[in-house]
């Protein structure tokens, strides 16, 4: 059985996550071996996922952690300790 490009596109994400059914995976794999367009789509998607996962894309504001812990410190004093009252 042969599948068309547009059906392969529906499986790109599952292929990257390794969640495809083995029979489907096999079909997609076979298609990718000879289709340069689908291979380029797969490669570009994988590449984009690596780039967007880079910690430098979303940087924390300077001093974020310090401000967070200072606020926690200040407010936790005013909050009764979160005693586990249900079953201990």
């Amino acid at each position: 059985m042969v599948i068309e490009c547009k059906h392969v596109w529906e499986h790109i994400s599952g292929y990257l996550d390794g969640t495809l059914d083995p029979a489907v995976r096999e079909l997609v794999q076979k298609h990718l071996e000879h289709c340069e367009i689908c291979s380029a789509i797969l490669d570009s998607t994988r590449n984009i996922l690596i780039l967007t996962a880079d910690e430098r894309v979303f940087e924390l504001p300077l001093g974020y952690s310090e401000r967070l812990h200072a606020r926690l410190e200040a407010e936790m004093r005013g909050i009764a300790p979160p005693i586990d009252s249900e079953d201990g």
């Binding site: 547009k6 596109w9 529906e10 994400s13 996550d17 380029a40 570009s44 984009i48 979303f58 909050i79």
Partner: protein
């Protein structure tokens, strides 16, 4: 990244906090500061609001710690708190025109990727360049909210499919469908843009 460091016994830390050692809360949350902020930013799109929502989410987690039950990971529980916090802030701003938090009308539709004949790997070093960073941020920010959330949880903060489903309160199959669309939308938008990145300003000096 949201992996629980191997040496941490979070159940024990939580028990200690609940027994009155509130200072241990600072240590408990340290590995998740970044994820909580990024998820707040993903919905609020404003650094100051995101920071405030993140602080508020951590405080809520502290106040409600006794209600945390270990069926979910602590990190997943925190993420669901910050998403709720960010969503309720968006609702409060109802006077301001806002994006729908519901599924877009084309939820049933297919997303076609950008067609390319070949792909030349863009190395991670490219992220050093401001223009590339802005391109990536903009593309993620332009995703409809339900796709932005799942993409960030799974592909940026690296939660598993099951953890993402728990954090968002949706089914595993909905996670897979939304994630697929999110990734295809990003490929469609970013692949042509990244191909155009000015090659004269090289990011790999050895070429």
């Amino acid at each position: 990244m949201i992996e629980t460091p191997a040496s941490r016994d979070e159940a024990q830390m939580i028990a200690s906090i609940l027994a009155g050692n509130s200072q241990a809360f600072h240590e408990l949350i340290r590995p998740y500061e970044r994820s909580v902020y990024v998820m707040a930013l993903s919905l609020l799109k404003n650094e100051a609001d995101a920071e405030d929502a993140a602080q508020e989410a951590f405080l809520k987690a502290y106040r409600n710690l006794a209600g945390f039950r270990a069926e979910a990971k602590f990190s997943t529980w925190l993420i669901s708190i910050v998403l709720n916090e960010a969503r309720s802030r968006l609702r409060r701003k109802s006077a301001v025109k806002m994006e729908s938090l519901d599924e877009p009308l084309d939820e049933q539709g297919h997303v076609s990727p950008a067609l390319l004949r070949d792909w030349r790997e863009i190395p991670s070093e490219a992220v050093e360049r401001g223009e590339v960073r802005v391109m990536l941020q903009q593309a993620i920010s332009d995703l409809p909210p339900i796709y932005r959330e799942i993409f960030l949880l799974r592909d940026v903060e690296e939660l598993s499919i099951d953890e993402s489903a728990t954090a968002l309160g949706i089914s595993v199959s909905a996670v897979k469908v939304r994630l697929h669309r999110a990734r295809m939308m990003l490929q469609k938008k970013l692949a042509p843009q990244l191909k155009q990145v000015n090659p004269k300003r090289r990011w790999f000096p050895w070429l």
